[in-house]
Amino acid sequence: MRRVARVVLCLLVAALALTPAWATTAVERTDTDLIQEAAIIVTGHCTHLQSQWLGRTLVTIATISVSEVLKGQAGSEVTVVLPGGIDVHRRFPIAMSFPAAPQISQQENVLLFLTPEDRVPHGYAIVGFSQGKLTIANNVQGQAVASQNLSALNLQGRSGTVSRGRAKTLLLSELRQKIQAGIGSSARR
């Protein structure tokens, strides 16, 4: 009993949202869960990445230039703390990694569901590990969509446009409507 999207009860009655119930590393969230759990939801692009020690833990600090605030209040930039990082400026270069941790690339356009992160002033962590980070691009219809499956998007790599696919995507206009509606109709078990 779990997870994923809304389960349609019958052909006439729509949308019972289940709390998705999984995970050994992360609990799988529905769109509704992500919206409800996030303190802020923003779109933007990554302008800077830097590995940094927080005590004895390596993290990667991502600076996001905010394009749109979909929920909550945020300035023109937000600081996102990603688990894990690299330190080569030491005698023995090392990496700290978390299986299935979210990663953001330089200049990547992203949709982020964020929750406050205590260790970094004004910092945020991503809700639900990698599930709260989606890449934004235009789909074949030219609509702005966000997806966890990069193959589903038209992405700009360093050498140009790459291919397209078909899997999980989230239409940004659809997401805006959901947020504005407050997702009040959903039920949980």
């Binding site: 995970a23 759990e37 688990p83 966890q148």
Partner: protein, 646 residues
């Protein structure tokens, strides 16, 4: 036909006897290797190879300590129910589950406690803790520290910078000294694990109740079986990655322990993850092969079984058929040819990225630079296998939940192909019978090589967008779901030319993870539409399969026999006006649904939302009696017709 079959098998065996060295790509977590510091195509940057993480044999047994600053263990749902002693005993069971694999020399032990009041980090303590930061909102995680460069540790090296030596020339194996692990001096390869911690989230704000008794497992989704979660995390703790296997077979919906998610609402699913699947056992054994050394932990001890006495290897490459590129991060699997049961799966490809030593950021450059090859390896027992390939496309697991190699392939748009099987000498990007699997024989200690997969270059006729929901739960047994594919859509694929009508693909789902989604039948047939209803010729289907087995949270293929003849027949009848539409049909089983929820198998739905990514096309129909099919104005059912140009 039989002669040809035998000849090919012999050639396969000859290849095996040649014992080609296996590619090192599989079910492993990864890190970067910058040892060579070769310049990348980007000025100022260097190439960083993506390599597996592993424990050096000198550090086996791997020694863990349990954080004792919380006893009893907090319960976010109420009063504590778990003492530290009971939690430790359960952890030991999970360690023993891995330690008892006779073909793997991995050995992980709890050697004591520590009293760290803070959180885990790089401190040369392998710590198991129930303390997590506030933003940690998942059940558990296993962070690791790895070496990024081949290195020689010398006596007195303080690797973590805490002022305490982490290396000694006086020892030959890793030693726990006052709670710190000290490494023996010597050479270590990039990818070596230096420190692994396991953390469980029991915070009141977003944590989980951990239960240990069989009878305590329930359907409360904020409560989870501790042993199941711990066993999974300990898989990570010795380097194993997540896998896509969430469904053993058509009759067993449970999957591998290293599948990333546990269904906390399904007791049967939770309990099943305590026990290792053949996939988990095979990869632990492959990375830590028993009997692979004359001395040390890899040497045979009483009760051990040599890896080579049980396992052979299947190796080959995967090529993206449409892009004509080596494919990084495809999931390759071996299924028992007779039973269909999945034995193991791994990921294809050897990759590298460009690394900026100044900013410490890594970048993809181009497919040609980043993807060095599409090699894969599968450890398998004696058997006859069907070798399949599947995209890591988010159903059921996204590339970001696996490893770097799957993400590189995803970034370059490679995770967008239909699943397929190895067709032997007929394997190509344009196969006639895409569902034909050529048997692959494996023998212990031998490598069956050159099982080179090419993903199919096909056209999916998808009259749907992204999945918004799954359904339907309140429909009667034997209910029908159908999707219309108009003749004009079929004719447009290759106007005037031949067409292979190869398969249907149905997006399927099941409510309880321990259950395999099954349907009464899958059908390809013809029909007509009048107004808002459709009439389907179910008495004369073009293809029919009874007891159709779906895939949990994924598209399941229904391969049609004789795709070339079917294509010719359909094209001819369309030209004559005898066929107006094809229909893909799934019918629910008439048997009571299994599982704790007792809900029928479900299909993927696009729609039911205010602003859908594609229009509701009006091509989806349903019927309770198979006579009158009513159009859905709310959803597009996610059924796909797969065709190809010859």
């Amino acid at each position: 036909m039989r002669v040809k079959f035998t000849t090919t098998l012999l050639s396969t065996l000859l290849a095996a006897l040649a014992a080609a060295s296996p590619a090192l790509a599989g079910g492993n977590l990864e890190t970067l290797d910058i040892t060579q510091r070769q310049p990348s195509p980007v000025p100022g940057e260097i190439n960083a190879k993506v390599v597996p993480v592993f424990w050096d044999s000198r550090c086996i047994p791997v020694q863990f300590r349990v954080n004792n600053t919380q006893d009893p263990i907090p319960n976010p749902l109420g009063a504590p129910i778990l003492s530290l002693a009971a939690a430790t005993a359960t952890l030991q069971k999970s360690f023993d589950t891995w330690n008892s694999i006779p073909t793997s020399f991995i050995d992980m032990r709890i050697v004591g406690t520590n009293n760290n009041p803070g959180f885990v980090g790089f401190d040369f303590r392998n710590e198991i803790t129930f303390r997590t930061e506030n933003s940690f909102d998942f059940i558990a995680s296993t962070p690791n520290i790895t070496l990024l460069e081949d290195a020689v540790f010398v006596d007195g090296d303080d690797i973590d910078g805490d002022g305490i030596s982490d290396v000694s020339s006086a020892i030959t194996t890793c030693k726990d000294v006052n709670g710190h692990i000290v490494f023996p001096a010597g050479f270590y390869k990039a990818g070596t694990l230096l420190d692994v911690d396991i953390q469980f989230n029991v915070k009141a704000s977003n944590g989980y109740r951990l239960t240990v008794a069989d009878t305590a497992v329930d359907t409360n989704i904020r409560s989870v079986d501790f042993q199941a979660v711990a066993t999974h995390e300990i898989g990570h703790a010795h380097g194993l990655s997540h896998v896509l296997n969430n469904q053993k077979s058509g009759t067993d919906g449970t999957g591998a322990t290293m599948f990333p998610f546990v269904d906390t609402g399904d007791p049967a699913s939770e309990l099943s993850q305590r026990t290792l699947d053949s996939d988990d056992i095979a990869w632990s054994s492959y990375f830590y092969p028993e009997g692979s050394a004359a001395s040390g932990p890899a040497a045979l001890q009483p009760g051990d079984v040599p890896f080579k006495a049980v396992y052979g290897l299947i190796t080959g490459t995967v090529t993206h058929g449409a892009l004509n590129q080596p494919l990084a991060g495809a999931s390759v699997s071996a299924r028992d040819l007779v039973t269909g049961s999945e034995f193991t799966s791994g990921y294809s490809g050897t990759t590298q990225v460009s690394f900026d030593p100044v900013t410490q950021n890594s970048f993809v450059v181009s497919p040609a630079h980043d993807i060095l090859d599409g090699k894969y390896v599968l450890p398998v027992k004696l058997g006859v296998w069907k070798i399949g390939v599947e995209a890591v496309d988010g159903n059921p697991v996204a590339s970001g939940s696996i490893n770097t190699t799957t993400q590189v392939g995803d970034f370059w748009g490679q995770q967008n192909f239909n699943e397929g099987v190895w067709g032997g000498p007929l394997e190509s990007a344009r196969e006639v019978n895409a569902g034909f699997a050529f048997p692959v024989v494996s023998l212990p200690s031998l490598t069956t090589g050159n099982i080179n997969l090419v993903t199919n270059n096909q056209v999916n006729l998808n009259n749907f967008g992204s999945r918004d929901q799954v359904g339907f739960t309140a429909v009667p047994p034997g209910f029908y779901f159908a999707v219309q594919i108009p003749a004009s859509q079929i004719s447009a694929v290759n106007p005037g030319g031949d067409l292979l009508i190869q398969a249907g693909a149905f997006d399927t789902f099941v409510f309880d993870a321990s259950v395999a989604p099954t349907f009464g039948e899958a059908i390809l047939t013809t029909g007509t539409v009048s107004g808002s209803t459709a009439t389907l010729d179910l008495a004369h289907p073009l293809a029919r399969q009874t007891r159709f087995v779906g895939q949990d949270d994924d598209f399941a293929p229904f391969y049609f026999p004789f795709p070339d003849l079917l294509g010719k027949l359909v094209r001819t009848k369309i030209a004559r006006g005898d066929i107006q539409n094809l229909f893909l049909v799934l019918r629910l089983s008439t048997s009571p649904p299994p599982g704790v929820s007792a809900l029928p198998s479900l299909i993927g739905l696009d729609g039911g939302v205010p602003n859908n990514d594609v229009p509701i096309y009006g091509l989806s129909f349903s019927s309770a009696d198979g006579v009158t099919f009513n159009r859905s104005n709310t959803y597009n059912f996610r059924f796909s017709l797969i065709v190809a140009k010859p």
